[in-house]
Subunit: 204 residues, 2 copies
DNA sequence: GGATCAACTATACGGTTGTTCAACAAAGAG
DNA sequence: CTCTTTGTTGAACAACCGTATAGTTGATCC
């Protein structure tokens, strides 16, 4: 009976493995950032969202900068994992374009996070270095896919330069969708990319 | 003699007309933002940079949000004023492209400010409304210039759609230059724009 | 030369920031 | 069972945030 009279167990806190908790904190940080940009990327808001005490961010990430880097990594992973394996007869470039404008990637929340991260990259040397490393692999992937199509169509192009331009266009289309979604739906954005690429490398 | 013994006049402050002071505060805010993004867009830093007391921002702009709007307006003006009148026989589109990638516009400092402003636009409804209004006129200008070339070359295109895509590409190229200037110099950026446009509307 | 007005300073205010730290709780090892 | 480890709390900290406000300075007008 004495046990029954005790206040509800109400586990004062739930224990998690470090990787689980980190993932949860990153998710909470993403939610905050999607809603309010860098202004909502604060210890208080993120911990409240995650339902944990304020000390945990420092414990798991060392600092807010560490969490920011983790958030960037998570966004990058989500973007690259959106690309499935190409079906037989389907070009890898086509798959990439689908991935760029998939609903899970090309939506206002996610793009607000990207815009916020870019703003930080421009100002934070550490984050910028991490970005460049990721970007190099990203560029290679796109260049390879472009080269594949160009070769199949017997076109001669500079795959890297065209890949860089394509990525810039994708980024710019994302900004536009973020600021005014109706003016740049995913369908239109993808079509714009094709209109850039097809004259250079042929149909795909 | 008593006058000579006084501490140097050292005008405790210099007086300006309201528009002059506002311009100076906007310039200081731009400098801060270019260096440290939204984190350096603070009363303390801006007023220190401008060499005035902390009260002046509220006095002249009502709030930091007011100053932010003024900064946005200043950036927009600077961008549009970079376009000179077309020389005889020169297309307006060519002039626009020159303006987009002029050194005063296409440089890391200015683009850091833009990136920061976009991050705020994505999150600040007031600023977003102002941006859309500006953007509409901007879009019209580009569409008109595109249509001019297309008509001269006997091409049929959707000028507005192509203008929107072009602007997105310009923005994306700007991000890239901001994050890694060497990888996207103005020359290359301009060439990328032409590579998008020429297949659609012909040479200009 | 005194009144008026706007530009400006300087301080104070409550609230929020990121980080530190000692104490605590739960799980696993021996 | 005890000991160790580690995820977690919660409070404390100094620093900084934006805004409000009372008072000072300098130019302008009559």
């Amino acid at each position: 009976m004495s046990e029954a009279d005790l206040p509800p167990p109400a586990a004062r806190f739930t224990r998690m493995s470090a990787p689980e908790r980190r993932a949860e904190l990153v998710a909470a940080a993403l939610a905050c950032m999607a809603r309010g940009g860098i202004q909502d990327f604060t210890v208080d808001r993120i911990c409240a969202k995650a339902g944990v005490s304020r000390g945990l961010i420092t414990h798991h990430f060392g600092s807010m900068n560490g969490l920011l880097a983790a958030v960037y990594g998570a966004m990058y992973s989500a973007a690259t994992e959106a690309a499935r394996a190409p079906a037989p007869g389907e070009s890898r470039l086509s798959v990439l374009l689908d991935a760029f404008f998939a609903p899970a990637v090309f939506n206002r929340s996610a793009l607000t996070v990207w815009l916020t991260l870019w703003g930080q990259i421009a100002v934070n040397a550490e984050l910028r270095a991490a970005h460049r490393a990721h970007y190099a692999r990203y560029l290679d992937d796109v260049a390879l896919a472009i080269n594949e199509v160009a070769a199949a169509n017997g076109r001669v192009v500079d795959p890297e330069a065209l890949a860089r331009t394509t990525i810039c266009l994708v980024d710019g289309l994302g900004i536009q969708h973020c600021v005014d979604p109706a003016s740049m739906p995913a369908r239109r954005a993808k079509a714009a990319c094709r209109r850039l690429l097809v004259p250079q490398i042929g149909r795909f």
